[in-house]
């Protein structure tokens, strides 16, 4: 999941008495697990929140091409290069489904792209961290896609039909991404001392940023209740983070990689691992634009968009000419 800190529109969860008749009927549908479709009536705040959430998710897929693309030209074998290309191509495809889902809510792809480019909309904090060695590519698949899947699997049941259907397609591909990531880092962990060093270095740098992907702790997460009532958020941030830690620790042990958290330990009574929270001040810095790569990532996206203007204009002009010629020929 690539949506963090989505500000839920509105004033909070209304009681049934506070709701209008339309709102009550809407909530009843959601409670009965009936999907909301684009032409159905929906509260303005539900629409606005979904646009933010789907938009942020889509932008994350697009910006997420950059840290992975950083290694395509240096992939160490033809097979790894092909796998990485296929994966990045999938991510761009996910962006496309999600922009289409957002369009059904009445916002065009160009409009929300511009909101990304001028900083009004965000993408996941994780993509503001650099990929510095080849093991990072494995770690991104294993940890980052692993964290994303934690959130995306429940979102397959989200209340908005187009979003739910996009999620179902995306989850199929993400589980392949996670497997290839784990395979890539396993090869490094089982490799030469230098390769093990790369793998451990990737783990050291990416562990806490991966935990941050779930957003702030529930105590500080002020937007959750309404989004959960609308079923556009299914689990709390801390529930998902715990699930991720519980799943990942044994995998790291299998690889012989240590998790950079001296206080990490199994808690028999809770039936979960106890772990140290990420440094939330770092998280808020990254969200505010002060992560290691924020400026470069956004500059790269802006450059692609600006440099591509003549291409988009050219293709559009040609399509218009062709239409005019075809009409004239009829």
């Amino acid at each position: 999941m690539y949506a963090q800190m989505i500000k839920t529109a509105g004033t909070g969860v209304k009681s049934r008495e506070e709701m209008t008749e339309q709102e009550r009927a809407f909530q009843d549908k959601i409670d009965a697990d009936i999907k909301i479709e684009p032409k159905d009536w929906m509260p303005d705040d539900y629409r606005a929140t979904l646009i933010r959430q789907i938009g942020q998710h889509a932008h994350s897929e697009i910006v997420g091409q950059l840290p992975e693309g950083n290694w395509i030209t240096r992939a160490p074998t033809l097979e790894r290069k092909a796998i990485l290309l296929a994966k990045v191509q999938d991510e761009a495809g996910h962006g496309l489904y999600l922009y289409c889902a957002a369009e059904t809510l009445g916002v065009s792809r160009d409009e929300i792209t511009e909101m990304l480019l001028d900083g009004r909309m965000k993408y996941s904090s994780i993509f503001n961290y650099p990929t510095l060695n080849w093991a990072d590519i494995g770690a991104v698949g294993w940890l980052v896609d692993g964290a994303a899947i934690m959130n995306q699997v429940p979102l397959q049941r989200t209340s908005f039909g187009p979003y739910s259907r996009a999620m179902i397609r995306i989850c199929k591909e993400e589980s392949f991404h996670q497997r290839q990531g784990y395979d890539a880092i396993r090869k490094m962990a089982e490799g030469t001392p230098e390769q093990r060093r790369m793998a451990q270095d990737a783990m050291n740098r990416l562990w806490y940023p991966s935990l941050m992907m779930f957003g702030p702790s529930d105590k500080e997460s002020v937007h959750s209740a309404q989004s959960m009532a609308w079923k556009i958020k299914i689990n709390t941030n801390d529930e998902l983070r715990q699930k991720f830690v519980d799943q990942t620790v044994p995998q790291a042990e299998y690889l012989g990689l240590s998790i950079p958290d001296p206080d990490l330990k199994w808690n028999e009574a809770r039936g979960h691992y106890d772990y140290t929270d990420p440094d939330w001040s770092e998280f808020f810095d990254v969200i505010k634009g002060n992560g290691p790569c924020n400026v470069d990532r956004l500059a790269a996206r802006n450059k692609a968009w600006d440099d591509g203007k003549w291409v988009r204009d050219g293709l559009l002009a040609h399509a218009r000419k062709k239409r005019t010629r075809n009409l004239a020929a009829e």
Binding site: I62, I72, T73, G191, A304, R312, D313, A317
Partner: protein, 252 residues
């Protein structure tokens, strides 16, 4: 030159073309003008890398049991046999797509002929690659038409791209002793024999794109025989081969 030496050179020419072009196209990842183009460029690069695995895989078998990776990552520039066209830098999106079109047109005709090769291994690879390349050509041709016949600016950029790349076209039709040996064995066509069909094909697309083919027939050469690559290839290999060179013997 023995038959095996000649076929090895031929396979390196095919595989190095797809390897180097695939690499160049992959440099676009995340930077294309529109999302659909990002997807299409990654897809094209992916096809080309897949074809490289087949061509260089077979070359490695003949070359004493080397792997495709050995050939891709452990040869220096002078042993590469790709045409110069595929190693020139991407330039803007227009030049990238024009280069793709000029190569795809040759590639599709070449693969069509190779499907009838007397060497079954070559014919099988060509048959598989040909399906992908038919689509590459359709897409790059459509894009060249769209941009050539788009706005004033897109037209000017596409003409500039064609003017820049045109001197690199002729090398695809050059021939030497390797080709003579391959033609005699019925393995490949004579490269020169593809030119008429190529000219007709590109003439049709470029005229629809309202672009003018330069009159000069001058051709830069030196890639397909390794005599003299451009300065660009060394930089490309520096990046591509870095991990394999820095950590010899590691398995990835």
């Amino acid at each position: 030159m023995t038959r095996d030496e000649a076929i090895l050179q031929f396979l390196l020419r095919m595989g190095d073309n797809t390897l180097i072009l695939g690499h160049r196209v992959s440099e676009w990842c995340g930077h294309a003008p529109v999302l659909e183009e990002d997807i299409a460029l990654a897809n094209t690069a992916l096809d080309l890398i897949g074809q490289t695995q087949m061509w260089l895989g077979l070359a490695g078998d003949i070359d004493g049991g080397k792997s495709a990776d050995d050939l891709a990552f452990l040869r220096d520039a002078w042993d590469f046999r790709n045409v110069l066209l595929v190693e020139v830098p991407n330039g803007d999106f227009g030049r990238t797509l024009m280069r793709q079109f000029l190569f795809d047109a040759w590639h599709s005709i070449m693969l069509g002929r190779l499907m009838k090769s007397s060497d079954e291994r070559v014919a099988a690879i060509a048959a598989k690659a040909s399906k992908e390349v038919t689509y590459h050509l359709e897409r790059s041709g459509d894009t060249v038409v769209g941009l050539g016949d788009g706005t004033e600016e897109s037209h000017a950029r596409m003409q500039e791209a064609l003017d820049y790349l045109w001197p690199y076209v002729g090398e695809m039709f050059a021939s030497d002793d390797v080709d003579a040996e391959m033609v005699a064995a019925g393995i490949t066509p004579n490269p020169a024999s593809l030119r008429a069909e190529y000219d007709a094909l590109i003439m049709r697309v470029l005229s629809e794109a309202t672009l003018t083919i330069p009159e000069s027939r001058f051709a830069h050469k030196g890639g397909r025989d390794g005599r003299m690559h451009t300065e660009h290839l060394g930089h490309l290999l520096t990046q591509m081969q870095w991990l394999q060179r820095a950590y010899p013997g590691a398995s990835w």
